[in-house]
Each structure stands twice: as C-alpha cells, then as structure tokens.
Symmetry: C2
Subunit: 339 residues, 2 copies
Amino acid sequence: MATMKQVAERAGVSTSTVSHVINKTRAVSEDVRQRVLAVIDEMGYIPNAMARSLKNDKTRTIGVSVPDNTHAAMAELLRGIEDTAFAVGYNIMLCNGYEDPQRQVAHLRSLIEKRIDGLVLVAGAARANEELAALLSSGRVPVVLADHAVAGVDAATDFVGLDHEATGYLATRHLLELGHRRIACVAGGEHEPSGQERLAGYRRALAEAGLAPDPGLLVHGSADCQGGHDAARRLLALEQPPSALFACNDLMALGALCAAREAGVEVPAALSVVGGDDLGVAAFATPRLTTVAQPNHEMGRQLTELLLQRIRGEPAPRSHARLQGRLVVRHSSAAPQAH
Amino acid sequence: MATMKQVAERAGVSTSTVSHVINKTRAVSEDVRQRVLAVIDEMGYIPNAMARSLKNDKTRTIGVSVPDNTHAAMAELLRGIEDTAFAVGYNIMLCNGYEDPQRQVAHLRSLIEKRIDGLVLVAGAARANEELAALLSSGRVPVVLADHAVAGVDAATDFVGLDHEATGYLATRHLLELGHRRIACVAGGEHEPSGQERLAGYRRALAEAGLAPDPGLLVHGSADCQGGHDAARRLLALEQPPSALFACNDLMALGALCAAREAGVEVPAALSVVGGDDLGVAAFATPRLTTVAQPNHEMGRQLTELLLQRIRGEPAPRSHARLQGRLVVRHSSAAPQAH
DNA sequence: CTGTTAGCGCCTTCAA
DNA sequence: TTGAAGGCGCTAACAG
C-alpha cells in the first residue's frame, strides 16, 4: 500500500507538504496542491490512520460492549450509537459480552490495547468481576454507562438509561384506568435490574390506587417469550385468574398472548395484556399489543454525545439521565368484562 | 499511559527485553522475567496495539458492513461473526450502510484508513456505486460477501449465503403436500434479491406440482410486517382468495397473520401461512408460525473463517456456499378446509 | 510557501 | 541471555 513518502517522492515534494495538503493544516501553493492531489489519486493513496493515531493519541474509534447484539433493544441502542458516532467520523468496535465477566475482560483489554478513545458499556444483569472493575476505573478510557449502573464501577460515571420504573407505572396505571383490579405482573429474572425497576413501577401504581399487591399475581421467569408464556399459563390456571396482566417486556407479553390463546382466553375481552418495549412486531401481534415504547435509539445518541464530550475533555457535570417511555395503546387492552 | 520504555527503565532492562517477555519471543532468564512482569503489573502497563500494528501491518480487526444491524437476521449474522472473530482474538468494527452507497463508501474508506485486515460485506438491495466498487476491487482488503453478490465487485470474491431459492421451495412444497392448490406468495420489493430468490423457489415448487402460477396471487410490497399485512389483506379480499400463503419472510408472515385475524379469517382453518427466517417470536405468534429457519449465525461463522483464511494468505479455492434452511412446522399451516 | 527533523510505541535484526 | 539501533507511516515544531 502506498505511503506518504512515496506520494511525496512522486510529486517531488516533502512528506510534510503532502501531510499538509491532506490535512489542510497550512497554506500550500495551488499548483503544488494540485500536483500532490493528482498523485494521491493516481496512486490510490489512503492515509494510514494507525500511524497518525500513534502521534495524536486518538483513534477516533469507540468501543461498545453489549450483552448481546441480537436483543432487539440492544440492536436499536447500538444503531443509535453507530449513527451518532458515524456522523462525527468515529467508528465503533462491537463486543458481545454475554454476561460473562471473563469474556468482557478479554474484550475490554483488547479494546484498550487498540486504544479506543472511549467506551459505551451496556452491562447486563451480571456484575463486573474485580478485574473488569479495575480496568474500568483505572481511568484509562472514558466510559459511559448505558441503562444500568455496574457494581464495582465508580458511581459517578456518566449514565444514560431508561426510566423503567415509569414504564411499569405507565403500563399499570393504564390498566387501572380501564377499571382492572386484579392485575398480574409477569416479571423476568429476580436479578435482572430493568425488570425489577419495571416491577417497582407496577407496585407504585397499585399502591396509588389503594391496591395491595397480591403475591400470587407476580410471576418471575425468564425474560423471553417462553418465560412469558409459562408465566401466563400459570396465572390463567389460577382459581381467580387476573383480568389483566403487565409483562415487563414485549417478548414476555407476546409469550403471554400465545398462552392466552392456547388456553382459550380471549384478549382483550377476558384478559388485557400490556408489554413494554414496543418491538416492531408488537404492532402486528394478535391482537396488536398495547405497550410502552422505549427510546433506545435516542439513548444511544445521548450516550455517544456524552462520551464524545468526555473524549474532547469538555468539563460537564456528571450526567444521570433517565429517558421516559411512552404508552402506546393498541388492541390488547380493554375494560374488564362485567361479571 | 505507561509505555514499554517506562516499564523497561523501572525494571532496569532494555525495551527489547520487555518486548520479549511480553511476546515470549526469545528466552529470558527467569528472574528478569519475573521482575519485568511485576513492573508491568504494578504500572498497569497495557501494550499499544497500534504501534505494534505499524510494524506488522496487521490490526487483528475486521470490518463488518451491514445494511442495518437492527434487522433480526443481520443481528444474528453479526453475532456469528463477532463470536468467531473473538475466538481467535480479532475485534470487529461495525458499520451500518442503510443501503446508502455514499455512506458505505465513507465507512469503507474509514475502515481502510484504520487498516482493517479484512471485510465482511453484507450488501443490501442497493448496488454498489463506482467508488465503492473501485475501493473493493482495488485488492486493498480481503473481502468476503455475505448472502448477496454485489454488482461491480469481482464475481470471484468469496461468498457465503443462504439458499433462498430452497427456502421458497421448501415452504411451498409443504403447503402443496398439505393439499393446497391456491397458494399465494407475499413477496418483498421487486428488487430485493433474497425475496426474488425465495419467490423463484415458490414458483419451482408450483411448477413441479403442475400448477401454473396465478399472477393474481403474487403480491409485492415492503418486506416488513406492514407490507405483509397489506398484501394479505388484498389477497383475502379477492373473489377467490387463496387457501394458503407463503410470505417470503417472517415479518411479512406476522403481518399476514395480523391481517387474517382482522379480516376474521381463521388460521390455519381457513388460511395456512408459512414464513421464512424463524425469528424468535415466530414460535409464539398466534398461531405459532410454520416457517423455514435460516442458519444466520452459521453463515457468520463460515464467512469469518473464510475471511481469516484469506487474511492468513492460505490459498483456498474460491468459496461459494449456500446454506440450507430448515422447515419448522408449527400451527399456522394445515390441510385446506373441505368445501 | 516549503523542507528537515525528531519522535509517537513497538518489534526485530544485529552485536555483544 | 541481553542491549543498541533502525524503522513502521505520519505529524508538528523549527528553520529557512
């Protein structure tokens, strides 16, 4: 691959001149400029960013560590990050951590070796192990946290997340306003942070309505379709089944819809279902799912803006934003049947 | 950040010794080794991969250009790539091209500047513009093509894709075997390659069964839920509606399911629906969707293995693999109603 | 307006 | 078993 030196020779100028025409970093006479440009084009010269980075100590690439890029919400977040980064000439390195601290550490080390300018860390349920925490808090790399604090990482780290509590609250209040009183909650794993927060919102809404939460109407399980399916089946088999159900995420809600149908329970006539996320398919579920949409792309954008600020060294107060979800009422929720 | 030189000074040895203990590239006396290691640990030294790359001309990072990482199939593919790359110590740079040649070129230039070792290119429907084609065929970077040839790129470029034709064939034959004769096809855009291939498989199956394709039973539209919904609605409003429907992908199939329900058409009693992809939610659709699962993760794996071979310079015959989908029969397909 | 020079951090001959 | 030195490709003083 052609180097700057070769370009310089061919154009009969010094490398610094070539460098300056490329970077427009000092005046160059028009004819020399044209000549250099011509040679660059002719030789198909493309500058070596590594060599440049070695000097300025800036790679214009940021790392993104997510639990799993196939989760729809992560994918949207990732997209928000990439879009924002691209707009200002940054590239992103993607790492799937799969909630495995070993793997996360290996990834992060690799990213640091490659001298990423910053890191967007989307932690999963798992907590950081010591090694990861040490790497993160060594101050080697500016970090912003997405959606969840990470145990072991400085609590003052910049943060942008979703307001999961509000999501649970909005969904539940919607059901309450429709007149429901026996409202179940299908939650994910007990250690999954976002699920716990959504559950808290569910409880707050009930409390505000003067309802005591019925422990029999709360089911934990895996935070996917299968988990939602199993949980709903159990709830529908209850002697006094709920008239409505809030699933902490859309995948579980979709699973619940499936279980209801298989149990011969009409939605929304006999059971209202509300999810949370607003996946693309939610609008086309049977029936179309009422849910709380989450601004994942926007979260990615804000995280990236924030990170770029830190990279530039702009002093800004520590951020701790919580983005609000938005209730989207469709056809899976309705007033309870009269008895 | 600590440099090798600083480590060397602190340990009272030369940088070359430090380099050699790090890379185990020549014998070092045990006590010196221990001392160096201790200093590295104490200083938290992490080698600078850029400086290293400047020498070896290898970055151990590969670029991945996809149309959109939020599409479920892309996300799985991406995951397959990342998994495989990580296993051998490579990182990946993710680029969303959004079918925009301008953007793709900008991304690719950036990747080349950063001297990626290779590129996995997932082209969308759009064709490469001249500039992109030129960059790709300049031989600067080993490239493997995912799922679709790219106009303007050397036809001999390594390739791993899905056998979309077989997918359409499998889905349609399944419906034929159930006894259907009026089988509609909900296809995506007319210029979308995978959709076209699946459509071809549909036609082949019909032809084998001695059926002439009814042009009125083929509907093109956008390749998403909305497109599937609209297409199905039109088909169901026909004077002689089909008894079965093959949607070229699951999103469209889900949309079709939604439309059927809204039109009061029972699935599978009055209409069988088969999709293609086997998204996670397909198994929990109402009713659970019969579809053709695609080995997207495996495709990512094979693409990456192939690319790594090329990067290593191993001479291998050009690959042109087509991975087979697998029919997954669930509850959205059944024998047609007797009249 | 242009060229010379000294590194950035690391690897790798070549010598000792 | 170890060190010295040159150079990967580029940028940025410093001179002219």
